[in-house]
Amino acid sequence: MSRRLIIIGGALLGVLGVLLVRFGNPANMGICVACFIRDTAGGLGLHRAALVQYIRPEISGFILGAFAAALAAGEFRARGGSSPMLRFFLGFAVMIGALIFLGCPLRMLLRLSAGDLNALVGLFGFVAGIAVGVFFIRRGFSLGRSYKLGTGNGYVIPVIAFSFIVLVLAAPAFIFFSESGPGSLRAPFLLSLAGGLAAGVVVQRSRLCQAGCFRDLMLVKDPHLLYGSLAIFGTALVMNLAFGYFKVGFAGQPVAHTDGVWNFLGMVVVGLGATLLGGCPLRQTIMAGEGDTDAGMAFLGMLVGAAFAHNFGLASSPAGTTAAGRIGAVLALAFLVTVGFTFTLAEVKIPVKESAAHGIKV
């Protein structure tokens, strides 16, 4: 049944998440969609934070793996039109929150599985943010319908992902490669790409989503997606123990800071934003590969958001948060709450037949 698929998918993701660290990715960062999109922004020169510049092949892998899997399953559909401009900025806001906490929801799970208790604080924030999002959804929040688009629209993000691979391999002078810091810590290119492709296929098929897992528990008491997240966490935990990466505590955790309030709030932004978008950052990236141009806009918003975060000094570091970052997080939260309140069902016409002839008691 699909439960088996999602557990296998989660387990595979957990394995990849730790294996990629073993082969060179930064500690507790075998897979982090937010960090890797940020690194890619740096590699492209969209920001000049020298420690985090590298066009991560994993990102291209996620997109192209999802693209291939969707095509093979007949699920590739170019679609869009569901508030794309807003979705761009929702992605932008989610990235700011993630860079305050220093991780996307998947990295949050991986950090937690390595004993990083700061990620537990983040998890509470994430769940709180999702709860706020669920409140908006129950109230009737909707970004509107998407529609079928000309197929070429769906190819744009996969082609961009392919171009990233070309740029990493060709390494022209205008592409940046960190020589120190997290951007310099990278698994061999082929392994990163293969890992990303595998993850892309797995997540596309299994529908894994870190935000959806808590959201569905709250909305419809459905634990289906939670099994996936538990599988990620459980597998990664076992592997971290096996490789000796497990270290419980708050202080001295790799690429992490101990500012609890902002670890919490940063992930509130991510949880709320992801719920309004309809999926966590990884899910948005995967859907972008499936031809969903609305998710593609969220992806581009995350890319640009990461660039702004570093250019404006919003991003955190192991030393902690910045004043600008804290303001950025509050502004992002204000934006998300405004969108949540403003876009309600009344603006979206959903025909529901309330006819006794069809036997519906409404």
Binding site: E75, I137, R145, D216, I350, P351, K353, K361
Partner: protein
């Protein structure tokens, strides 16, 4: 204008299809309701919701769209 389906969730992003379907199912159904979706993911999610309510569910794919019929037996 009359709609051919009881609920049209085409183009709605996660989790709206399930939220809309749940609103109908919460009210209790006497016969059958039909839902049209345009993504397999939405269809799968709605089917899971139907099972959660202890109802039967049939899923038919036609030209990239999914017709979901939910009832006591389908």
């Amino acid at each position: 204008m009359e709609s051919k389906y009881d609920l049209d969730v085409r183009g709605l992003s996660c989790p709206e299809p399930v939220v809309q379907a749940k609103k109908i199912l919460d009210g209790g159904i006497v016969k059958k309701i039909s839902i049209i979706a345009d993504s397999r993911v939405s269809a799968e999610n709605i089917r899971r919701l139907a099972y959660h309510f202890g109802l039967a569910c049939s899923l038919t794919e036609r030209a990239g769209e999914f017709l979901i019929v939910i009832g006591k037996e389908v």
